[in-house]
Subunit: 418 residues, 2 copies
Amino acid sequence: MTIARDEIGQRSETVRRANLSAIVRELHGQGPLTRSELVARTGLTRSAIRGLIGELAVGGLVTESPAASLGMPGRPSPLVCPDPEGAVVLALDIEVDSLAAAVVGLGGEVLDHIRVDRPRGHSSVEQIADDLGQLVGVLRARRSGWSEIAIGVAVVGVVRRADGLVSMAPNLGWTDVPLGARLERVLGSEAPIHVANEADLGALAEVRRGAARGAEHVLFVSGEVGVGGGLIVEGQPFTGVAGYGGEIGHMPINPAGLSCRCGSVGCWETEVGAVSLLRRAGRPPHSGRAEIDGFLRDAEAGSPTALRALAETGRWLGIGLAGLVNVLDPRLVVFGGLFGRIHPFVAETVDAELDRRALAAPRRLVRVVAGSLGAEAPLRGAAELAFEPLLADPAMWMRRRDVESSRDAVLPLRRVVA
Amino acid sequence: MTIARDEIGQRSETVRRANLSAIVRELHGQGPLTRSELVARTGLTRSAIRGLIGELAVGGLVTESPAASLGMPGRPSPLVCPDPEGAVVLALDIEVDSLAAAVVGLGGEVLDHIRVDRPRGHSSVEQIADDLGQLVGVLRARRSGWSEIAIGVAVVGVVRRADGLVSMAPNLGWTDVPLGARLERVLGSEAPIHVANEADLGALAEVRRGAARGAEHVLFVSGEVGVGGGLIVEGQPFTGVAGYGGEIGHMPINPAGLSCRCGSVGCWETEVGAVSLLRRAGRPPHSGRAEIDGFLRDAEAGSPTALRALAETGRWLGIGLAGLVNVLDPRLVVFGGLFGRIHPFVAETVDAELDRRALAAPRRLVRVVAGSLGAEAPLRGAAELAFEPLLADPAMWMRRRDVESSRDAVLPLRRVVA
């Protein structure tokens, strides 16, 4: 939120910090912008922008390049760039089939990235934290001189955001697992760790950097073995009070249906998840990513069995989505993960079910699209989550870093932040 | 939101208005409070409170009674009361079986109220607006000297809040009906008209004045013939971008089920609405309120048929509610309308289905209770909706009224506002 100076009538520290935040948020989200574009986007005066950019440059968060001439009349406006090395975060992702780690710079650039397969099935939190620790070790070895300001973690489970407790992750076999605390110990980092559900983070990433960029009211529907949902309302994640919301895979949709891993019967996930899709196609339902790849190759080759399976899954996708459209009234539905990959095959069926089952008013306003970040959406969202405190108050963060740097000068054994 | 003076560092017009708003909101919501209680609730200083109360008293919104001694040591603190006659709103309610109108004063007191039966079935918007106009005429005749500052309207339909267009109300036979515009013409009032869905407003009323008072994250589930939902997130109504959200009655819950009035099949409403309850009890399903009353008397007398019907409806209530708990993660579910009346009979079944079908984490945190405002919840919520602009900026409203009063002094034919 930009607070214009004259709205308060007096310049104040609160206003200065809000304005720094508005500028850093724009640069992080949009990439390089001219000073003139920043004036237009923030509503601040040209002289205010100049002063604030100066502070951010001294603070190491932005750089300015010489005035770019855009073929427009008038004085060319200097180009302001977020400095990717000025502040980096560590992003981690725990999926059913894989683990990933990345170093992401201010502005969203992925500076380094590793993803490794993990065997399906249950793993202890100790095992997974150790595996992630090894990935982080590789990243540190490959590229020296960086230190994360925060760590964001995406996980296929229901998460209590306050402390990163995973209250339930059936695909990992976890109940009330203190993932945040465990990672804190294993990674040995002083940076704060933020853990959230992978679909919530996928939604955030698609809104900030993907197919839903700039959209205000988005439902992200992500399917693999499990089905997760992330809701963005007025540009901000909506997760319920404690972060347990969005478990759309566990809407009862077919009370005469199959048992679900969650203990209920006929959840949406039992009709639209990867297991039911493979079963409908006559393939081993509990196999991994390779089986899905083979199935999709069959579908592309026009296999009638594969296409029939997709049609049936598409029908159930549309049925459940109609309910979500009626309840949540989103403008844009983004299919992520497996659903993003099958979108071309199911789009028509899904639209037809929406026409038939959703109420006319919200139906008219909603579009269903495939995500553009693919399997990396949750990891990118984890980075966005980790950047959030910096974006909300860059002044506080620059001051804290100055304090830590001066302490580091006295105690050279401490790792230098940034 | 209270903005403390020292947070900004400087007194300013924005701060003064926000502080006036905080005080009026407290008094409207809580009723009479001592100055000391206002200090505690708003975080403002005693001298700031004194000055602001003075302004509000001159503006006619509050009165002060002599210092009340509360048996506490120290100087007794004057009691500040919202003046119900200082600002009144007109609240209207369009239900399937009835129409209602009320005059509600600041602080939420219902100063006058009429509810009349309406025959079930389709009616033109002209007919309903005329009927409401007659009710308002009766209210005006019964009590002179008042004029509403705003009009709030609850309607059993999907509403575009910006202009009060009812995009769909199957029980009235309406599609894209300009209710707001029609009421403006019929009521001949200069006060702004705010139209919203009746379940959204029922939720607002239960949070402000009913069973969910003070709760932050509430799902209101209201059943009669149709089933509506209202969601409160962090104390504020959540309705989707254009106000179409919350149509929980039209979640597909039983794809092998009955056709729904909305054109879909197996919506939640077809399993839990009044029609299916009466049908299960062997009574004429499309009859009115008297039939429901008879059915509930049977249930209270222990009729096995009635209790069996309630058990089956309770089971479907629990199934759908489990999905909503998983998706929305509310702390409190409030049953309104018919669901509030049957709550004592279905509470156990609903809880058992939630235990069985909702995910453990959100399940642990949620309670299901009956609303305390009964059938009047939507009407009370319509009043709250109409008060909102005054609560948000009492200073603006007092100034506008002063301007209009001085104009009225010159043009005595205009109705004096307040």
